[in-house]
Amino acid sequence: MPSLVYALDISISMDKIYSNFKPSKLQASINSVAISARRAIIEEGLKTGLVVFAEWAVPLVYPTRNISHFLSALRLLGRTFLGSAPGDAVVEAVKVMRALHDHKKVVAVITDGDYNMGVPLEYALSYAKQSGVDLYIFVIGQIEETQLAGPYHQYKDIAHWVEVGSYEDLTSGLVKLVGGVSR
């Protein structure tokens, strides 16, 4: 059975509005994650986890098929924090899947690309690849305008990079990913 872990950026920059990510990028992303996690757990039976990150990264939900645990953890979110360490988040997400004997493991990072601390993303991407984890990075806005532009150009082929310009893009991207993972 496949498993999926979301890595959600809860850094201060996610507090802002972008396009129709309202009332903030974070709140809209939480909604998108909730919609796709419902589909992943209830309809597809995927083990689904959640890592949140700012200057630190924490596995808030270890991969589970319990939707109420997942949604109640999402309800804890809303506050944002200093710093942004997506590399740490990728490492934590890969680590929580280490003990699972699932044939397919996928991590979906959701970030606005404000990247300023922690484990360099380059190493985290390599760790995910070496661990056999498929990595999708959903970037709110244009990658070229973010601090992820460097790693993106250098490691285009290691991860699947997805630019999302609207709330609908993110939601449908995540839902599509769930469909792809379970197939």
Binding site: W56, V58, P59, L60, Y62, A73, V96, R98, L100, H101
Partner: protein, 171 residues
């Protein structure tokens, strides 16, 4: 299994001997109910010390040095380390009755919300007991209007025997 997370921050220096004896006695009391014990130490960082032992004396020996670490204690980092131990010892399937006992000196507001600890433990199906090493909620709870989001059992309010009874050996 039971994992103990011991606060070794400088602010917990006065509680280290208590934590050592509490952990050892609790493990001895629970030895027949549990297959093993683990130990994590933490301050602003956390580290696993014992992944699994059946001998409560090993916990006591590991804490004998009474070393401390700089930084404000971050309980969520300790919970993360402890759950990693349980998660891997159980190959991703924690057993009913697995428990995490977190001891916390509560000197200042941690950077990571303590409420996350509950969600993390729930998702793995591990019961979480948080022992506050103070008499009651510290002043900074009021000044930040801090809601820890977890039940805290205050050691100094209860006394040692009542505390031991309240922590017990599992759900």
């Amino acid at each position: 299994m039971i994992i103990y997370a011991v606060d070794i921050s400088r602010s917990a220096r006065q509680y280290i001997e208590f934590q050592r004896s509490f952990v050892t006695q609790n493990a001895e009391r629970c030895a027949s109910d549990h297959e093993g014990f683990g130990l994590v130490v933490y301050a602003s960082r956390a580290a696993p010390v014992i992944e699994r032992t059946r001998d409560p004396r090993q916990l006591e020996e590991a804490l004998a040095g009474a070393a401390t670490m700089r930084g404000i204690p971050e309980p969520v980092k300790a919970v993360k380390e402890a759950l990693e131990i349980i998660f891997y010892q159980r190959a991703g399937m924690p057993a009913v009755g697995d428990m995490l006992v977190l001891l916390w000196s509560m000197p200042k507001k941690p950077k990571i919300p303590v409420s996350y600890a509950r969600a993390m433990a729930n998702s793995v199906g591990v019961s979480l007991r948080v022992v506050g090493l103070q008499y009651g909620p510290p002043k900074w709870f009021r000044s930040y209007r801090y809601d820890p989001g977890v039940e805290i059992i205050y050691k100094r309010r209860l006394g040692e025997s009542e505390l031991a009874r309240k922590i017990g050996c599992g759900p």
